[in-house]
């Protein structure tokens, strides 16, 4: 029998552990009980008392007034949520609130979008009977910040903002100060928003029930005619966004509370950095370079030009003289189309994507060890893990919503191990921070494996039943030269041992890694060792464990899934295998190329050698983002035809023969796959900016021009074709994806998968690989002349080359790249904070401003490459991961000197 309780004498089923408020809302609707201090993503607080109800326990019968938001439901409880006494109480509380609140609703910017107003109407407030008394109506406004606003004369002291900053973002920028009637919201040490530590996540503004804390966009939302749910285009977290728009104007963005990925949270990029979409710099017409100058042309002209040029090159030099670089910023369907175009229409395997420069080692390393190159678990597993190991990742800046979630877990007492050369925000909170020398992940992982095996902390049962090659692996690990590894990585072996113990003995340990693992000479090996660690400790195939790459771009997982790599087509089928080629041919109706294709660095190399004649890049600024800019420029200059599909004229555009103006993600539909394999619907919010077309449509148009019949770009239709080919998309349809998407593999009946490898690995048993540490050729060869190691990092406000974020107010918050330098090094070189320095490597030099900071150890420098003004990649190296060819952005031998 189900347990019940009564609302107004009517029986309803209760759920164990829920509050009276949740119980009532579940049965009678969200607005049945008014609240002011409650929010779906915050702990019950109990300050407004608006949610009061009368209850009577069975038997004793006496009526009692309780706040429903924090009173647990009980079996057979009688609840009267709208008795006369309750109505009276609510009205009287509202009357008290209004004694200290401006009564100028009609002129308030929140008018029509104000919880206080709604609740006042709901409880039916009459006039305020109290004589005028002390109040706080004269508090000044704060307009200091690029996005955030306060007008605390409208504050009702519900503390939602403080709690959002604490319980959601974990930043503690806000607090109540003072006591009683004098208690008031402060930012920082009672400063302005601009001077506070605020990271502009907007959680407080979304939580605030009045216009006391808002942002520069919020008040416009009341003019919205449409609200569209879509997915953020920036990082691989894949936050859902609710976009308010009016016609072709985007007014404001909030985060849906029911989004499984982000539960009402975003970072400033997702919520505020949207004004690039109609920026004056947006490209609005196709262009062809004529007499050295880009000139606007019609779509017909540009299509004819491209089709004819490509056909000529193909017939003169063969299809392998043509290559395409697809984009992890575009939808799955568009990536699928791009690879289809290159393979089926051009007839070559020369297709690659920006995953090459970020997580290609992850895909490869995890395929080798587990059989599947994707996160084994889900972000939600954080709730159930006991230990989090973060390797070469700074999620509070690069994956902010996941970073915030990790921080929440650590603040609740879970163990955190950080392996990172930088003392990141999370490293400061970690119980174990292994601050290794950049490029020595493999050494540290091996040390950890060594201690786990020496101390007998391995999971023998798991090893026995699920793994191959353990005995040999064990011997190799035990034979390691520990002293040498310790010397190389520069971390005290005891610290490594303690971390190894913490990881191995935690009932459930979850690892996350980022580009600090992959963008290395030994990138793929680093990933394989992370997999080894998880396997020998049995941290695979359960909730709260696993190996979880923090995917960089919004759709880097999806681009790879869709076949954007030379050796594997959609669904990761090997192009060298005749059977698989045949399978593709059945669907595409044309022969598939067999010859191995080029990876991005190989494409540039082939271009410089004159073998590659034409390149089509969809949405990537390779000049700013690929390493060793000089070599990239040379490559682009050598091409006969360089087609660039973009939102803005980037530095790369200087070398383009053809520019194709694309539409942004707000202007098209499709799907993105986030870092936890979740395929989610991207929905068109506004029509394509006049003169632009969605990337997918452009590819379709060219396919048709070149004689391949391809129907108009339509995400739902495209998904049908993808589901035919990609086994793990089998059960995916546009309708089934719903609001929150599905995590692949999705079975035919639509069941999706939160955790991989629960029973067995895709390759049967898991494979342990042994690899010893080897120093990067970069430092081996250049270390003597260039004694510092530069490693690259990301800042919260900007995304990659910054082409979008630099065109928003984010640039007002952070307007340039900085070089972080330890105070000891700065003192030794006589460099002062804020001064510009010359940073040089064997490739060249750049000028950059210094921030003296403990974030790096002596001998290590760190910088971002968000800004073209610095062009940091002028000095990064051409060293690549030996396995996946991912560039080593994270270790650059440099020297630094005061300018002039």
């Amino acid at each position: 029998m189900n347990k019940i309780a009564y609302i107004n004498n009517k029986a309803f089923e209760i759920k164990e552990g829920e509050t009276i408020l949740t119980f009532i809302r579940r049965h009678l609707g969200q607005n049945y009980v008014p609240t002011l201090c409650d929010a779906p993503n915050l702990e019950p607080f109990g300050s407004c008392r608006m949610c009061s109800v009368e209850v009577a326990r069975p038997g004793n019968g006496a009526l009692k007034t309780v706040a429903s938001c924090h009173t647990p439901i009980e079996e057979n409880l009688q609840i009267y949520p709208d008795s006369e006494s309750v109505q009276h109480l609510r009205k009287n509380i509202m009357e008290l609130i209004l004694t200290d609140h401006p009564l100028d609703c009609l002129t308030c910017e929140a008018n029509g979008d104000c919880e206080l107003q709604d609740v006042a109407a709901q409880v039916g407030i009459r006039k305020v009977r109290y004589p005028e008394g002390r109040n706080h109506l004269d508090r000044p406004m704060d307009e200091s910040h690029s996005y955030m606003r306060t007008d605390l004369s409208k504050c009702i002291n519900c503390s939602k903002c403080v709690r959002a900053c604490d319980e959601v973002q974990g930043e503690f920028v806000l607090s109540m100060a003072g006591r009683g009637f004098d208690s008031h919201i402060i930012k920082g040490l009672d400063t302005s928003f601009a001077d506070s530590y605020c990271v502009s996540c907007g959680a407080c503004a979304q939580a605030c029930p009045t216009a006391a804390i808002t942002d520069i966009y919020q008040s416009a939302a009341k003019h919205a005619t449409d609200h569209t749910r879509t997915v953020c285009t920036y990082c691989g977290v894949g936050c859902n966004l609710e976009v308010a728009s009016h016609g072709d104007s985007i007014l404001s963005i909030t985060a849906p509370y029911d989004a499984e990925v982000n539960q009402g949270h975003t970072c400033l990029k997702g919520r505020y950095a949207f004004r690039f979409y109609n920026h004056p710099d947006r490209l609005r017409a196709p262009m062809i370079r004529k007499n050295g100058k880009l000139e606007e042309v019609s779509w017909d002209e540009v299509y004819d030009f491209i089709a004819e040029k490509l056909n000529t090159i193909k017939s003169n030099y063969g299809p392998d003289a043509i290559a395409g670089i697809s984009s992890a910023r575009c939808t799955n369907e568009e990536n699928y189309l791009m690879q289809k175009f290159i393979r089926a229409v051009v007839g070559t395997n020369n297709i690659d994507g920006c995953a090459r420069v970020c997580h290609s080692p992850t895909a490869l390393g995890m395929q080798r060890t587990f059989g599947t190159g994707a996160a084994t678990n889900s972000i939600d597993d954080l709730k159930d893990t006991d230990c989090i190991m973060l390797i070469g990742a700074n999620p509070t800046a690069a994956h902010p919503v996941t970073g915030a979630k990790i921080k929440q877990q650590i603040m609740k007492g879970k163990t955190l191990i950080v392996i990172d050369p930088r003392r990141t925000d999370l490293a400061k909170m970690a119980q174990h921070h292994l601050q290794l020398k950049p490029g020595t992940n493999v050494a540290v992982m091996n040390l950890m494996l060594y201690y786990i095996l020496v101390e007998g902390l391995e999971d023998k049962k798991f090893i026995e039943s699920r793994l191959d090659g353990y005995e040999e692996f064990r011997q190799q690990i035990l034979n390691l030269d520990i002293a040498r590894l310790e010397r190389e990585c520069g971390v005290d072996r005891n610290l490594v041992r303690d971390a190894a113990r913490a990881y191995a003995t935690a009932p459930r340990a979850m690892s996350f890694h980022g580009l600090g693992v992959t963008e290395h000479y030994q990138g793929t090996y680093g990933v394989m060792l992370i997999a080894d660690l998880a396997m020998v400790t049995g941290n695979i195939g359960r909730r709260g464990v696993g190996v979880n790459p923090l995917r960089g771009q919004n759709n880097v997982q999806g681009a790879a899934d869709m076949g954007v790599q030379p050796h594997q087509g959609p669904g990761y089928f090997d192009m060298h295998n005749e059977g698989y080629r045949h399978m593709y041919e059945e669907v595409y109706g044309v022969p598939m190329p067999e010859r191995p294709g080029l990876k991005i660095p190989e494409m540039f190399e082939a271009a410089r050698q004159g073998k590659l004649k034409a390149l089509w890049i969809m949405g990537e600024d390779v000049v700013q983002t690929e390493p060793n800019t000089h070599a990239v420029r040379e490559a682009l200059k050598s091409l006969d035809l360089f087609i660039l599909q973009e939102l803005f004229l980037s530095d790369t555009a200087n070398y383009a023969d053809v520019i194709l103006p694309a539409s942004s993600f707000f202007e098209k539909s499709g799907t993105f796959t986030n870092g936890e394999r979740r395929v989610q619907r991207v929905n068109r919010v506004v029509d394509p900016l006049p003169g632009t077309k969605p990337d997918g449509q452009i590819v379709v148009d060219i396919m048709n021009r070149m004689g391949y019949p391809q129907p108009e770009y339509d995400a739902a239709e495209m998904l049908k074709e993808i589901a035919q080919i990609v086994p793990f998309f089998k059960g995916i349809t546009w309708e089934r994806l719903g609001e929150n998407g599905l995590q692949w593999p999705v079975a035919e009946d639509g069941t999706d998968t939160q955790i991989l490898h629960t029973e067995s690995f895709k390759i049967g048993k898991g494979r342990l690989y042994f690899v010893d540490y080897e120093e990067s050729t970069e430092t081996r060869e250049n270390g003597a002349a260039f004694p510092y190691i530069l490693t690259t990092n990301r800042e919260l406000e900007h995304y990659n080359s910054g082409s979008m974020t630099r065109r928003t107010n984010d640039a007002l918050i952070r307007g340039e790249d900085f070089l972080y330098m330890n105070p000891e090094d700065a003192a030794e070189k006589g460099i002062r904070d804020g001064e510009k320095v010359k940073l040089s490597s064997p490739r060249g030099s750049v000028s950059i401003r210094v921030k003296v900071s403990e974030v790096v150890k002596p001998g290590v420098l760190s910088s971002t490459f968000h800004f073209p003004e610095v062009m940091l990649n002028e000095i990064t190296s051409s060293v690549h991961d030996t396995q996946a060819k991912c560039p080593e952005y994270k270790v650059v031998a440099v020297d630094v000197a005061r300018e002039n």
């Binding site: 008392r49 706040a67 109480l89 004694t99 604490d166 503690f172 003072g178 006591r179 009637f181 402060i186």
Partner: protein, 561 residues
């Protein structure tokens, strides 16, 4: 209350205590500097806003406290005794008036005229020695008051020889926890801090709660103006308390005991510090107590001036260095208390009874008293009695006996007794005969035993002014978290003020609505409790209050919504 801040503060716990650190930063100038707060925040992996939020809460760390030298008591007893205006004036002749602050109740209610100067409390005759005190020639402000028992002597009896106590504790450490708990449950001992909740139930919850780390916290924040019975134990019988905590700690499996003593009791802080040192020297505190596997560390925390810190959840937040705002329950402290760990929070007097129960058995204790109110109760009588002091009486003793036999009648014409602190009931003198000193009798008559402090309201003190004082007290002490109390206390004070000083009469329905809103809507017993004395006054002093209400009608008949 923030769970995150609890855990972050808990990382350093009691050894490097955040609240103490904030206190230390305030010591220099009266309020911590922003630079210091920023540095401290970094150490604790948080941000300075939270620490500023904390510092700005307490009377003795908030920015307004900068430069204060003398603090004059503004508690109810000193107020109605009428000693304070004169006192302030005299102090003003020695010290700049901007350097005079206020403190709420130094526990000198038996002689009034209380003030605090440089770490010492003074009262009564000290007013006559002001010059010497300010010049630091006189530093002895020791007061004396009568202490007597009428019935069993549990708390007022002298502490026995240490050998005897040690022997008893050796026994304890060999007795299973459950046995001790059974005995405590049998005793029927109920909390003496106001709410009267059986300690046995809380101890059982703590014992059964998951986790290895548990705490005992003694609520020695005795904030009710008019009460000084905890102060008596803290200063005269500190051993009863600390040994009681040790017994409680052993029973629930706790590793540490925190004594949270209000800053207004500097002498109590000294005696507790000394007594902890004695226990440590005797191996009755610290590691391996009496050679056993039981470890129990004492920690003394000095409060910083906020009445609401007497409320248990605020008190825990205070120890953690958070803003001491009341938090919702569940979770109760017994399952998630200090730093998120199971915690037993009890009043001084409650804990001080445990040694008696241990040595005499729960049955013996349960035989004392009346009905569900077992044992004895300390009562503090203020200067409105001929013989003020602290008295131990069996629960159930007629109030008349307390007033007449112990207090020896009134020292001045008195119209009402305010019993149980500001949130207690206002007992008109004609109701004294109807009451016996126990939880049930008071509740049945529409009053509240509370902590059993007694303040006499003089015949000539206007009831309306006393009620305004109560609202003002609530407004000053409200943590500000819940809307009814934060706003209602101020509006209540304004209404009563306006009615006295302006041509304004209060709408009785509005006043009634205000009281009901606070009573039913408040999160804790501060906002929820203050309507009780108001309603008592409206019921028993109608004639005196009539003039301040519309149509001379102080009591409204509730109307339909």
């Amino acid at each position: 209350m923030s769970k995150n801040l609890s855990h972050l503060s808990g990382r350093k716990g009691l050894t490097d205590n955040l609240f103490e650190r904030i206190g230390e930063l305030a010591a220099k100038t009266g309020s911590p500097s922003k630079e210091d707060l920023t540095k401290l925040a970094e150490e604790f992996l948080i941000r300075p806003a939270s620490l500023y939020g904390t510092a700005s809460f307490y009377d003795f760390t908030r920015p307004e406290n900068k430069g204060k030298k003398v603090y004059v008591c503004n508690g109810s007893s000193c107020l109605v005794a009428g000693t304070q205006d004169e006192l302030k004036k005299s102090i003003g002749t020695h010290i700049d008036t901007t350097e005079i602050g206020e403190m709420c109740c130094l526990g000198r209610c038996h002689e009034n005229g209380a003030f605090h100067y440089e770490g010492h409390n003074y009262s009564g005759k000290s007013a006559a020695q002001l010059a010497g005190i300010i010049e630091r020639e006189i530093q002895d402000g020791t007061d004396t008051y009568t202490v007597e028992a009428m019935g069993a002597e549990i708390l007022t009896t002298p502490f026995p020889a240490w050998e005897e106590v040690t022997a008893q504790l050796r026994n304890l450490l060999q007795t299973p926890r459950e046995t001790i708990l059974d005995s405590i449950r049998q005793s029927g001992l109920r909390g003496r801090g106001g709410a009267g909740f059986p300690i046995g139930i809380k101890m059982q919850t703590c014992l059964e709660a998951a986790g290895d780390l548990k705490f005992v916290v003694c609520n020695a924040d005795e904030g009710d103006p008019g009460s000084f019975s905890d102060r008596y134990i803290l200063e005269q019988r500190p051993e009863w308390l600390l040994i009681g905590m040790l017994i409680a700690g052993y029973t629930i499996g706790a590793q540490a005991g925190v004594v949270y003593v209000r800053a207004e009791y500097p002498a109590s802080i000294q005696t507790i510090r000394k007594t902890i040192a004695i226990l440590e020297a005797k191996n009755l505190a610290g590691q391996h107590i009496l050679g056993s596997d039981f470890h129990f560390q004492f920690k003394l925390i000095e409060a910083k001036g906020a009445y609401v810190c007497g409320e248990e959840t605020a008190l825990l937040a205070s120890i953690e260095g958070q803003r001491p705002e009341v938090r919702v329950r569940p979770p109760f402290p017994a399952t998630e208390g200090l730093f998120g760990k199971p915690t037993l929070v009890n009043n001084v007097e409650t804990l001080a009874n445990l040694y008696y129960i241990l040595t005499h058995g729960g049955d013996a204790f349960a035989k004392l008293g009346r009905g569900r109110s077992t044992g004895t109760k300390l009562v503090s009588l203020d200067s409105s009695f001929r013989r003020p002091g602290v008295y131990e009486v069996d629960m159930g003793t007629p109030l008349q006996d307390v007033v007449e036999k112990l207090g020896q009648g009134f020292s001045r014409p008195t119209k009402a007794l305010h019993i149980g602190g500001p949130l207690g009931g206002l007992v008109p003198v004609h109701k004294i005969a109807d009451l016996t000193l126990d939880f049930e009798s008071f509740a049945q008559q529409g009053f509240l035993l509370g902590h059993a402090s007694v303040v006499g309201v003089p015949e000539d003190y206007p009831m309306v002014a006393y009620l305004e004082h109560l609202f003002e007290f609530t407004a000053h002490e409200s943590c500000g978290k819940c809307f009814p109390c934060r706003l209602g206390s101020v509006r209540g004070q304004e209404l009563l003020h306006k009615a006295q000083h302006e041509d304004y009469t209060i709408d009785p329905e509005l006043f009634h609505d205000l009281l009901t809103t606070m009573e039913k809507g408040s999160l804790c017993a501060l906002g929820g409790g203050i309507p009780l004395p108001m309603r008592n006054a409206l019921a028993y002093f109608q004639d005196e209050l009539r003039a301040y209400f519309k149509e001379n009608q102080p009591v409204s008949t509730p109307k339909k919504v």
